[in-house]
Amino acid sequence: MNNVNAYITSSCVIRNNTVIKNGQSILEAPGTVLPEFLRSLYDRFSGQYPKFHKMDLLSKLGWAAVEILLQNMPLEGYAPEDTGVVLANTSSSLDTDERYYETVSEIASPALFVYTLPNIVIGEISIRHRLKGENAFFIAEGFDIPFITGYVQQLLDTGAVQACICGWLEQYHDQYEAALYLVEKQERGMAKPLSAAEIQKLY
């Protein structure tokens, strides 16, 4: 395998009602509950995209984090097949699974049912940014940075992708955390060499 250079070109961490882009805090909204906080991210960082309002909280969180991640870092230079998405979390889609289960006793909600898989958020991100590359959603006890780093490095090494959105996307009830990274072979943006240590620093 040819080990190619790869760079972390952008990062976005969202936790405790705070948004950190490339290591710098760019938004703090203390005292807002998660749905309101996510709506505020949509209002501030996105253009009109009515589908956002139909998404579950996990998808809204991931979708908004990618909007921020890709600000000033367009992916138009890549073929759709050349950008992958690799995410992980610990609660899968359990929050929405529970909400859906509550509807089953009366009339099961189709709108909730479609979000009862964790990888649906990858679909929402892919539709928004027209991505068709490799994707995966792993369920793990915690954010295993060496594993995700190694997985993405291998996708790049084998030529499966030229760029990859990757990281941690957790949400259950009002607990949440997003830590997403844009990794590319191309040296641009903040251009930190891809390594578990660099991701850990930005996390």
Partner: protein
């Protein structure tokens, strides 16, 4: 029909749409409100939940859900049948 518009906005979570934005004869799908297949299922749920109306023949769906007016006419016709 105004009540029906509000029910649709609530059921489909159309947060950026107001009742007055929806024309009575405007197509609900594709070029109109841009609803999709999941929305169609939610509209079926809406008919059951709010109006106790079921669609006996699924092939009638496209005609029933063409617009606010066709939905309202179907609801009225079904309720008159059972009255």
């Amino acid at each position: 029909m105004e009540d029906l518009k509000e029910q649709i906005i609530r059921q489909l979570n159309l947060q950026e749409v107001k009742p007055e934005d929806i024309g009575n004869d405007q197509p609900l799908f594709k070029e109109g409100l841009g609803l999709d297949s999941i929305d169609a299922l939610e509209l079926i749920v809406l008919l059951q939940q709010y109006h106790n109306v079921r669609i006996a023949n699924p092939e009638d769906g496209p005609n029933i859900f063409y617009s606010i007016r066709t939905m309202a006419e179907y609801i009225t016709a079904q309720q008159n049948k059972t009255a």
